[in-house]
Amino acid sequence: MNLATKYLGLDLANPIVPSSSPLTRNVESLLALEAAGAAAVVMPSLFEEQIEHEAMAVHAALDYGSEISAESIGGYFPEMDDYNTGAGDYLDHLRAAKEALSIPVIASLNGDSAGGWTLYARIIEDAGADALELNIYLIAADTERPGPQVADEYLRLVERVRAAVTIPLAVKVGPYFTSMAHMAGRLIESGADGLVLFNRFYQPDIDLETLTVGPNLVLSTSEEMRLVLRWMAILHDRVDASLAATTGVHTSEDVLKLILAGADVTMMASALLKHGTGHVSTVLEGVEQWLERGNYESLDQARGSLSQRSSPDPSAFERSNYMHALTEYSSKY
């Protein structure tokens, strides 16, 4: 079965792309993913904020206590040859991944400042990434800032990075836009070669013992895939860009549904963390078997076959879908 697909202009053997996770953090597991059939990999995000924080923490530690008294003037730590601050570690890993793998390596970037996005995008390109995914992680918490301003910020950012690099550019966003479909189009106009739907923000949790708030990372479930499914179906064929589905992709069924809705690739993290790198081949087998059972010629043939445009019931992806579901649900009792 021909599972080949095209994503961000890259020719991929199949639609399974492990997304950014601890598994893409070391070359050993990357090789295992490749061996299991992954068509490309997305590296963990380079977090500008973290890099800056670490550099400034080193700086502060070295300066802390200097000049504190006539007896300890030069600070409390000896100067070292290199503090390895900056993006060095990330780029080393990216280079090592490129060196070790034959599948495309997609870098991921989470910037914190206008200059940071473009600066790190450039050095990631220089380090040899095949494509770059912008992991935009903005919580619009400012009560004074209207939606259009926030949306504009996304667009300016994509424009700036687009102008800075030539490698293919994907933009990973959350679903929380007033007009997601319109926003998708504008992101593409701003220079995105593809959209990754959706960013699954870390949600906070409260510890009732310590009364502290902290991030609580919970692995996704297949149910979460359906929000992606809706927008995949709506956007397929309506925007001129690659579409990647991420969040809740666990099984071959999930993959197939998203492909039918119109995804070019499907990205997995939770399922791989849960089942191991070998899960890629299990999913691929399932996809292949379903396609064979349905006498499909290729994966491409199935892609978008149940998108909103191709669906016999286009409204099923829109609001009525909700009302219908609710009625059905209530009527059972």
């Binding site: 080193v58 300066d63 206590g65 008294s69 007896e71 070292m80 009364l211």
Partner: protein
């Protein structure tokens, strides 16, 4: 050829030569010489070679004695060896120095000359240490400037090889060791040309070697020792010519010419001054000034002091000289005169020039200012018809009237830029100024000098930078008094220091101010306004904090103010200056990454936009005035002496004002209101649970807990907070948690530990950090009222509990320790539990500095006038020092018991009651005190001389504890031998080791308490060996009470350990984990770090009680649970470990694994030890079995 200029300080100048010409460097940190060892270690770490291409091995020893021993051994085995030291450190090297010199071994010791502790310790500079070494047989070579510190260092290394006589090369501590100067550098080529390879070979051939064995270090007897001692004479005789010859060669290579004795002044001088060291700079300016006035004066600077060479000295003194003043920077009580004076007198006598009148005087002890007017006054005295033959200068001696009054005004030439900067000890001012000196020294033809003055506190300390930029080489070795640029980097200093007293007419005044140019004027104190107007100052403001904040640099305002200085001083064109500042930033911070560079660059770029000139009104009108140094109701001594020192006027105190023997009153920190916190803890009684933890952990006794009868509240100020005490123990009483708003340093440890929070708003705790400015007035009144509330009766308090201990008055308060210090909470607790009846022997280190660095001491007294009696002897002898106290107290008590026994008939039943008194608790102690009072009354009527004797020692019949306190540098390293001996003696002393795991006071050098994997100075690659288990060593004696504690991990155990140690009728050792800024943590969270240290097993808590062991129970009791987090989890949050993980991840990983193994192994061992019974049980065996 254009000289190769560098801008360095004296320590770096000397250390560079020493490192270039050595193979083995054995060191031990001591101020102000520490930097030499640190630099040498850093260069060797970076694999920088000596001039022969090998990297010198730098080893840190356990003491200066150890360093000298290691150097001696390395010399004996043929290496080129050196060391660096000062003061007491040099004294510890003396025994080896006699040996090294007696064996004619080429070696050099570089000394940043520092005061030897006498009536007091002083870290500052004079020649009392090197003068103590003048009889060792070492040659003594003196440098007067940073340039000389480099050049003489080379000459010392060269000549020692030529003559086989070892050299002590010295320069003045701080004035030269820390002064940053533009000098001409000596490259390796010149050093190579000066040092003879053949002589190195000869040195090696004399080495101990089994292939050609010899014997050294024999024991000799009356028949030959004397002759053998004289046999070395020719070698010492050869030193002076060899030094002269080396000077000649150096002059040929560099153009810089030195003599054994350098004469400067009029060829036909009538009067000359003779001195050595940095004072020569001031003397030179005085000589010029007097000769310009037509007088005929000169000066002789001594370079080679030992051997003192008579002929060259006489040759240096013009024939026209009729009188001479010899200045010594040391004091030799009881001598005819100080050492240099005596040498000069003897030399003149021997040379037949005894007709020259010679007077001798002391100057500059402990870095006392020494200025050209003082030299002028000395020269005037030399020419007087009836001069003081022995005098002092620079002080007012109204007791023995030896001092020469100095009245002359002094002005430096107008073409010298003189700039003074007042900064906070943490804002980067000094570092930036050092950079400015380097920039201007490098970019311009001007000569540049930077000298830095620090205050005595470790938190909220003020630094004053004195910078000169001159078209001529700078000889001004004194502080600036007529500055044409004054910068105040902290607005708050304006109310504390009259800094504009240093401003010259028309000077520029730059103020770091939150207030802009239009609003700043009304916020200035009156004296500042008046000075700006009357001196016609150009006044500028910049909001450095805003610029730094916007560049995300926190409180580091250094680059902002530095940029403004360059813009206003116009020494360097602005563009060039900015480029140079950025270069300097790149060179200082380059390794820290682009982010750090960019943020600093951003601050530089934004600085000038934020700089504004202030339009100065024609009249002052402020109602803000300089705060009085101490309040009017302070005791007399505090008013007359302490207050003057606090107010920065200690130099004006006459001799009569000072105690004759170094004895000072305690209880004085309360008078020094520093107000350094931006935020202070404010109490919300509604949610308080009365736990007392905030008071327990406060490093500065600035948050306190008291319970009292509610009736006391009748006169409470309106804002005074109170609540009912919740416990049944003091039912019906009220309690208050009160902050001392002007003594708090704002560390936040109390808030971090507070377990009570609001039900409605979790972030709101029972204490919360709030603006000091907003609360200070109200809380000051509250605190005064709080202090007046009656103290709880100690006999009604459960002392050995957290709450109980915190209801007791702290007798250790408001120390100048670092904000959030990990050591001081233990001392404060000790003072609460037993402060009214203990002597404290305190090893030199952080605790002796924050404990007794003038002007004030945190050791305090209760209302009855009782409190800890405190003394510091040395660094190395503290255990023995404390033991001596015990022996004396026990002796007095024995005498008292004997006398009381003998007078029992006269005294009656009271005698028996006293002799058999139980004093194991507060009540017992109280009753015994009452009995002793009664005894003294009774004795008044006893007509027996023994009654008088008994009166003098009766108070020793009340229990007195001896606490021996110090840091890990003392306990694990330099004082370990003595500590071990005291442990072995079993006497009733308590030893408290405040273990910060590094030498905190001298800047974070590794000790044997430093754990594996931590980065410290001398362990830059991460310490590769494990920490010494001091507690287990002590337990091996079997009769020593040992506790390992960490307040943040188990407060209850801490209190219990103190109580058990005090109760133990023998030796006790408490090892207290004390977080330090050297750990690279946020000190506000230091208690949480301690918790994690225990949870990881990194710092297991335990108590070993010999009494339990004797009762057949396990002696060792583990007070922390099995490790539940890994070493890595603990270490990741501490900079000392995390730094290595960033710099060298592989090595860090390796060391972290080993550190985990250390923890696992130790825990396994301790768990087994819990079940070990030390006492052997022997069955009665039948004969023959």
């Amino acid at each position: 050829m254009k000289p190769d200029y560098v801008v360095v300080d004296g320590n770096e100048a000397a250390a560079r030569v020493a490192h270039s010409l050595s193979e083995v460097i054995a060191i031990y940190p001591i101020t102000p010489a520490s930097a030499m060892g640190e630099l040498a270690d850093a260069w060797s770490q970076r694999k920088e070679p000596n001039i022969w291409g090998t990297v010198p091995e730098v080893v840190e020893m356990q003491s200066e004695g150890g360093a000298a021993g290691a150097m001696h051994g390395s010399l004996q085995a043929g290496a080129l060896s050196t060391t660096f030291t000062a003061s007491q450190g040099l004294l510890l090297m003396l025994p080896n120095m006699y040996k090294i010199a007696g064996e004619l071994t080429p070696a050099v010791i570089h000394v940043a000359a520092r005061t030897v502790a006498t009536h007091a310790l002083s870290i500052f500079g004079d020649h009392s240490d090197v003068m103590g070494a003048r009889q060792t047989g070492f040659s003594l070579l003196s440098s007067a400037t940073v340039q000389e510190a480099q050049d003489m260092a080379l000459v010392a290394h060269v000549v020692t090889l030529e003559t086989r006589v070892p050299f002590l090369h010295f320069f003045d501590g701080f004035r030269t060791s820390h002064e940053v100067m533009k000098i001409e550098a000596l490259g390796p080529e010149i050093m190579g040309e000066m040092v003879s390879g053949a002589l190195i070979t000869e040195h090696r051939q004399r080495a101990l070697n089994p292939n050609r064995p010899v014997l050294r270090g024999t024991a000799q007897n009356p028949d030959v020792f004397f002759q053998a001692r004289e046999a070395a004479n020719p070698f010492h005789d050869a030193v002076a010519p060899a030094v002269e010859s080396a000077f000649e060669r150096l002059a040929d290579l560099t153009g810089r010419r030195y003599g054994l004795f350098d004469y400067y002044g009029a060829d036909d001088a009538e009067r000359v001054v003779v001195l050595m060291g940095s004072g020569a700079g001031a003397a030179r300016e005085a000589v010029d000034a007097l000769n310009d006035r037509g007088e005929k004066v000169g000066m002789v600077t001594v370079h080679l002091y030992r051997p003192f060479s008579v002929e060259p000295f006489l040759a240096a003194v013009p024939a026209s000289v009729s009188s001479m003043a010899v200045l010594d920077r040391t004091k030799e009580p009881g001598a005819v005169g100080e050492p240099l004076y005596q040498d000069v007198v003897a030399a003149l006598r021997e040379g037949g020039r005894h007709q020259i009148e010679v007077i001798g005087g002391r100057y500059g002890l402990s870095s006392k200012e020494f200025t050209p007017p003082m030299v002028m006054r000395v020269l005037a005295e030399a020419g007087a018809s009836d001069p003081k033959r022995h005098f002092t200068v620079g002080i007012t001696d109204d007791v023995t009237r030896l001092s020469l009054p100095v009245e002359e005004e002094w002005r430096e030439p107008d073409d010298v830029v003189q700039a003074v900067f007042f900064g906070l000890g943490a804002d980067g001012t000094v570092g930036a100024n050092k950079n400015s000196v380097k920039i201007i020294g490098r970019l311009t033809d001007r000569f540049a000098q930077g000298h830095f003055v620090y205050d005595s506190k470790k938190s909220g300390a003020m630094t004053v930078s004195h910078l000169r930029f001159s078209p001529r080489p700078i000889t001004s070795t004194y502080l600036i008094e007529n500055a044409n640029f004054v910068a105040c980097h902290q607005f708050g200093f304006l109310e504390k220091v009259d800094m504009l007293a240093l401003a010259d007419e028309g000077a520029t005044f730059l103020l770091n101010s939150h207030y802009g140019p239009d609003e700043v004027w009304e916020h200035l104190p009156a004296h500042v306004q008046e000075a700006i107007i009357s001196k016609r100052l150009e006044f500028y403001v910049v909001d450095g904090y805003r610029v730094a904040r916007e560049a995300e640099l926190g409180g580091r305002i250094n680059t902002v103010l530095q940029t403004c200085f360059f813009a206003l001083s116009e020494i360097v064109p602005q563009d060039e200056a900015i480029a140079a500042i950025k270069d300097a930033i790149r060179s200082a911070y380059g390794k820290r990454g682009e982010v750090v560079l960019n943020r600093n660059f951003q601050a530089v770029d934004a600085s000038l936009d934020a700089l504004s000139k202030v339009k100065v009104p024609t009249a002052a009108g402020s109602t803000i005035h300089l705060a009085p140094a101490v309040p009017e109701h302070a005791p007399d001594f505090v008013q007359r002496v302490t207050g003057m020192i606090i107010g920065g006027k200690g130099d004006l105190l006459p001799v009569s004002a000072l105690p004759v023997d170094g004895t000072f009153p305690t209880d004085t920190a309360q008078w020094e209101k520093r107000s350094i916190a931006e935020e202070i803890p404010i109490w919300d009684p509604d949610i308080c649970i009365d736990c007392g933890r905030c008071a327990l952990v406060c490093p500065h006794a600035a948050i306190r807990m008291k319970i009292y009868d509610p009736s006391e509240l009748d006169s409470a100020p309106a804002g005074f907070q109170t609540k009912e005490w919740s416990g049944r123990d003091y039912a019906g009483m009220n309690m208050t948690i009160q902050v001392a708003p002007e003594d708090c340093t704002g560390c936040g440890v109390c808030v971090d530990i507070c377990p009570a929070h609001s039900k409605e708003e979790v972030k709101h705790k029972s204490i919360n950090m709030e603006s000091q400015l907003e609360h200070v007035d109200e809380e000051r009144t509250n605190f005064e009222f709080f202090l007046d509330l009656p103290e709880l009766d100690r006999t009604n308090v459960k002392v050995d509990s957290i709450k109980g201990s915190q209801l007791l008055e702290p007798l250790f308060e408001f120390s100048g320790a670092c904000s959030g210090c990990g050591e001081t909470p233990y001392l404060k607790l000790l003072s609460q539990m037993y402060g009214d009846r203990i002597l404290v022997a305190n090893a030199t280190g952080c605790s002796s500095i924050y404990g007794a660095n003038l002007p004030t001491t945190p050791w305090a007294k209760d209302a009855a006038g009782r409190g800890p009696a405190w003394a510091n002897s040395l660094f190395e002898d503290n255990a023995e020092f404390g033991l001596g106290m015990r022996l004396a107290i026990d002796g007095h008590a024995r005498t008292a018991r004997t006398l009381l026994g003998a007078l029992s008939t006269e005294v009656g039943d009271l005698a028996g009651e006293i002799l058999e008194a139980e004093q194991s608790d507060e009540s017992g102690v109280r009753k015994q005190r009452e009995r002793i009072e009664q005894l003294i009354t009774t004795l008044q009527d006893v007509d027996d001389p023994r009654a008088k004797q008994l009166e003098t020692v009766a108070e020793y019949l009340v229990q007195m504890g001896v606490w021996i306190v110090g840091g890990d540098g003392w306990a694990y390293d330099i004082g370990f031998g003595g500590l071990d001996h005291v442990l072995a003696m079993g006497r009733n002393v308590n030893i408290l080791v405040l273990d910060t795991e590094v030498y905190s006071n001298t800047g974070g050098q590794a000790s044997k308490a430093t754990p594996r994997a931590a980065v410290a100075k001398f362990a830059a690659g991460g310490k590769s060996t494990g920490k010494k288990d001091l507690g287990m060593i002590a337990q091996s004696y079997g009769n020593v009470y040992v506790a390992q504690i960490a307040m943040g991990a188990n407060m209850n155990q801490v209190v219990k350990a103190f109580a058990e140690a005090e109760a133990h009728e023998g030796t006790s050792l408490i090892i207290a984990f004390s977080p330090c800024i050297a750990h690279g943590i946020d000190m506000g969270s230091m208690m949480a770090h301690q918790k994690r240290a225990a949870e990881s097993g990194y710092w297991p808590l335990y108590r070993y009680d010999p009494a339990a062991e004797a009762a057949g129970k396990p002696g060792l009791r583990l007070d922390s649970r099995e490790p539940k987090i890994s070493f890595k989890e603990f270490a990741a949050l501490e900079g000392r470990f995390a730094m290595l993980a960033r710099a060298n991840p592989e090595h860090a990983e390796e060391l972290a694994q080993q550190a985990q193994d250390d923890i696992d192994n130790r825990w396994q061992l301790y768990e087994q030890m819990v079940n070990v019974h030390r006492t052997a049980v022997f069955e009665d065996l039948e004969e023959g079995e």
